[in-house]
Symmetry: C2
Subunit: 636 residues, 2 copies
């Protein structure tokens, strides 16, 4: 198989069934609550009304953010992932209804954007960096591909194809430029793969290659009066590129949208972190298609920069709120921005890097991100979301039901609904088990039908059983040894197998009702951060298996900053707590409160400390009880 | 002597001559550079032009901030302090020139405010909380009192009296309300003391007593369209009370201006820290006059709250930038706002508390503030100023030559010029030596002429000599034992005197060419902050004598966050460094950089540390060399 085959990989979402103690309840709530709620929001927010009014030939009175069309597209995409895995005629009918509205709103030449059609039809393609027409197009295409794959219906795919053809006609010809928010690139590569039309591959390559090379951004900054956007009907302002791309000293470059230099020259991950993840995901797909060494090297370099200098221990990305993104090496301040969508984007990118390389480290990072930086973004009951995921809070940061810029909730919904895409892969005629969660898959490998059935006790303990049957065919099976496993033991039908300390354990044999049993040792580890991370100097974080832990005020008597030298003594699974979590308990040192006598400062040699108990809970579960302080990094 | 006599205290600025190794060069630069530069700024900024144009009956085209008149008043005040201590005909002529412009701009009824006279004369006294007419009046009065005391000329005093009389006629009658920025209260008390007119005492009491009781603020918030202010001629906006006094949740109260409840009910120091210091200073003066127990108790309570829960180790005040002020108990984040003017205001308040009580703790705090929180605000060469005084910097915080809101530079100038007011006091027929710095004073106590001459080696070492002569009169002398002195030895004419560990050493004898020698032991102390100060948990600050120290990047090889457990080993005076400072040198623990192998996180049990040297410099001297990080609180 060539690289392209590797990524399309033969394992479709519909071939994977998830039945997992940890993830299934979350996925059910995602399906029954979140996706249902989002559907209601489409009407509430005016998103569907925008489509209806365009179809009716009306103008003005656009509702919502100017890229609001994506709410409908992302909802269709999430719903389609649900439909790929189970029959749901009611949901399918709703999807068909929304698609019908979208199709009706499409212009005769294929153009589709309700903001421009209603408000300023004459200004199409003028404000590439801020007005997000291509970003909306990308989400339309992703929704169309997901819907087509799930249902084989071409209703939305035809809409997407018509629009993509228009974009292909216009760009590189009438208009030269790249979008200010990447998204269409990865969508075009998906479209290419379902249609086999190389023009979409070429168009994606055009956008990826041009970024950082053209002078369109400078022109848009210098000519805001000729562009679409500006003031909104309700008086609010759509930001100008000048506001977003200009640094404090008055200079500007494309850093915010990774357009400060050509991708292949970039040494560090920069700018808006979601934009960066989407670009790198697309570029990795492009590299899978082209095999271009220079591009692959640049992506590996960027990944190394990110994971060794610019990533939270939770897998969260981007400390800075002002531009929602990356700053400098080792700036990992604990009042992190770490947008939920950036964690999701990281999962997308890492999945493609895995498909490109077959390396386990990418699946390791997906696991870390899923259980921590991503999952914290969703409340236990599935109804509220974090936009930002700090690693420390005074108790005033809480999830919300929805946002004006509602990117995170639907993004979380589509990731949970498509979780099955990350469990197994087929690559080079081998089956990879990348994530451990209760599930089964039936797929064809070189003509043989392979069935895998997995039971998993993650994340609370490390026992996994994989039953394999291939009717006597010989297929290599590659099982990821998680980076966090202190030690691993693996048996096949009870007989021990030698196991590497990391990477993949490959087992190749004639499979015929065989059972693989894996045990990954989970110990509580005190992690420290690199010495150049100022925010974590003199601090440790507790981790157990794939889970990062935190202290919450509700479980601990003292203000959290007073805990020092946390020494774990035991772990206890508490089914009653936070829908069932394993807590870490231990002792820490805290200051003796006596002897201050109304003083605010005193000689440090008077310091006395005492021991006290602490309880840590998984980071993903924080802020699901009464509001209070939270801290991941505890003084050591 | 009654309390009122205590504060006027018989020692005038002109009786004190300062000749000190540490302070005199700073005072000379203040006189020759800062005050001269400020005079030029009065013309540059349009401040004087505003007065000229009002005098000429013109309108419109007001220049500068709407309270810009205070620049001229504060300059006159600072210049008058200089004139009180030396003849300077050139400076005196400049002062007379500015006073003449001011007098010409006064309206027939006594009103004086160039913004309102030029821009909206019909809106006098409409916008009390934002438009600062009474704040400007207060600085006019302070300047007039200082000028009168220094020169005995009544030119400006007459202007101030006419304006004060108008204010007295209008307020409590036509208009009920208090100013949004306190200042006139303390100024009126000064005016009362030079004129003996009780109407000014009563008017100050009116403003102090009404604060927090009236509903004028609510009315101004609800009726912004009827008020003065609003949009400026250059398009900028004068903030509305609604913007400044409203909390995030939409409710409002007078907290920003200490008007949330009556002063006598206040339990905690709140709001804008400069405003708070000016109010409390005025209220303390009022208490000196009235002896009112309830007011004294409330001031002591507020002082205790501030000094035991809301004050930086430097004496700096107010962590929050948004409202330039106080927040909650123990919120002492190291990216402190700690406005220079707030430190200056604290000196004003504490001086009055001393005058009220005769307690040494107030003089101790003045010393701490002068050497640290205040002095850091002025560059070594006297040309640049901090508005904010953080205790930790990444290297991007620097002094500037001037500010749009130029309150701090002239405030620093008037404090340095009037430093002589804080060295000696006369109270209850005793002479107090409150600050140790080279100086002499000749003053009358109960008919006797007392001469003191002081030599001091502070802040670098603790040797002080005080020569006393009273021609054989017996006068109690109270010498402050600094709070920082680990131990003290005092001799009179070579004979030891028993010395308390803190407070005042009182020596009463017939003085006739006697010599007192004091030695205050200076040791390097590692201070810790109260356990509830989250920002300083697990950290220590180095202090020696009155000086707080800091690490600057330029003196230390490692990023400052890497230093742990700083152990001082020696102090060295380096005359070449930063105009001569004593540095603290020692060893600290820093992480071994090896063994990270491209990892960002690793198990903490792999931690290795090594010892390295560090050098700390006085906090006041930071940011006077090449830009770099700075840190007061070092990990312990």
């Amino acid at each position: 198989m060539g690289p392209r085959d590797a990524v399309t990989d033969g394992i479709s979402l519909s071939e994977v069934a998830i039945d997992d103690g940890f993830w299934s309840p979350r996925r059910e709530r995602n399906r029954d609550v979140t996706i249902e709620y989002q559907y209601e929001q489409l009407e509430e927010s005016g998103s569907l009304e925008n489509f209806r009014r365009v179809a009716a030939g009306e103008s003005g009175d656009f509702q919502g953010m100017w890229f609001q069309d994506t709410d409908a597209y992302k909802w269709i995409e999430a719903a389609s992932y649900v439909l790929a895995q189970r029959d749901d005629p009611e949901l399918e009918a709703k999807v068909d209804g929304v698609i019908s509205l979208i199709a009706d709103a499409q212009q005769p030449d294929g153009y589709l954007n309700t903001y421009f059609s209603l408000v300023e039809p004459e200004n199409r393609w003028t404000n590439l960096h801020m007005m997000h027409e291509l970003y909306c197009a990308g989400h339309l295409i992703e929704a169309a591909v997901a819907h087509y794959r799930a249902t084989e219906k071409e209703t939305l795919l035809e809409v997407a194809v018509d629009f993509a053809d228009l974009v292909d006609d216009v760009f590189g010809d009438e208009v030269e430029g790249v979008p200010g928010h990447e998204e269409i690139e990865l969508a075009l590569l998906k479209l290419y793969r379902v249609t086999d039309e190389t023009r979409y591959l070429e168009l994606a390559k055009y956008f990826i290659d041009l970024r950082g090379k053209d002078d369109r951004l400078a022109w848009e900054i210098d000519n805001p009066e000729t562009l679409g956007g500006g003031e909104y009907e309700d008086g609010s302002i759509i930001p100008a590129a000048r506001d977003v791309f200009t640094h404090e000293d008055g200079t500007y470059d494309g850093r915010y949208a990774q357009a400060h230099e050509p991708l292949r020259d970039q040494e560090t991950v920069e700018g808006h972190s979601v934009r960066a993840m989407y670009l790198f995901a697309a570029a990795t797909d492009l590299a899978i298609e082209t095999g271009e060494d220079e591009l692959i090297e640049s992506l590996e370099r960027l990944w190394t920069n990110m994971t060794t200098k610019r990533m939270y221990v939770t897998g969260g990305l981007g400390p800075e709120e002002a531009h929602e993104g990356f700053t400098t090496d080792y700036d990992l301040r604990n009042d992190a921005y770490a947008e939920t969508c950036a964690a999701i984007g990281s999962v997308y990118w890492n999945q493609r890097l895995f498909e490109l390389s077959g390396e386990a480290k990418y699946a390791d990072l997906i696991e870390r991100t899923l259980y921590n930086g991503f999952l914290a973004g969703v409340s236990l009951d599935g109804t509220e979301f974090f936009y930002e995921n700090p690693l420390e809070s005074d108790g005033d940061h809480h999830r919300k039901g929805w946002f004006t810029c509602a990117c995170c909730p639907p993004n979380a919904a589509r990731l949970l609904a498509s979780l099955g895409e990350y469990v197994y892969s087929q690559r080079d005629s081998a089956i990879y088990v990348n994530q451990y969660l209760g599930s089964s898959v039936t797929t064809a490998v070189d003509g043989a039908t392979v069935e895998l059935s997995q039971d998993s006790s993650l994340p609370w303990s490390g026992e996994v059983t994989v039953d394999v049957d291939a009717d006597g065919a010989s297929v290599p099976l590659r099982l990821r040894i998680p980076e966090w496993a202190e030690s691993s033991t693996v048996t096949v039908n009870g007989e021990s197998v030698e196991t590497p300390s990391e990477g993949y354990l490959e087992i190749e044999r004639v499979w015929d009702d065989d059972r693989i049993e894996l045990t990954f040792e989970q110990t509580v580890t005190r992690l420290e951060a690199h010495p150049d991370v100022a925010a974590d100097a003199g601090r440790v974080a507790l981790k157990r298996g794939p889970l990062v832990y935190c202290l919450e005020a509700i479980d601990n008597d003292r203000p959290l900053h007073q805990y020092e030298d946390p020494s774990p003594t035991s772990t206890t699974h508490r089914p009653d707590l936070l829908e069932g979590v394993t807590v870490i308990e231990g002792e820490a040192s805290v200051p003796d409160r006596a002897g201050w006598d109304g003083r605010l400062y005193r000689p440090a040699d008077e310091t006395a400390r005492e021991r006290t108990e602490f309880t840590a809970v998984p980071y993903y579960a924080w802020d699901n009880r009464e509001p209070g302080a939270m801290r991941v990094w505890i003084r050591s």
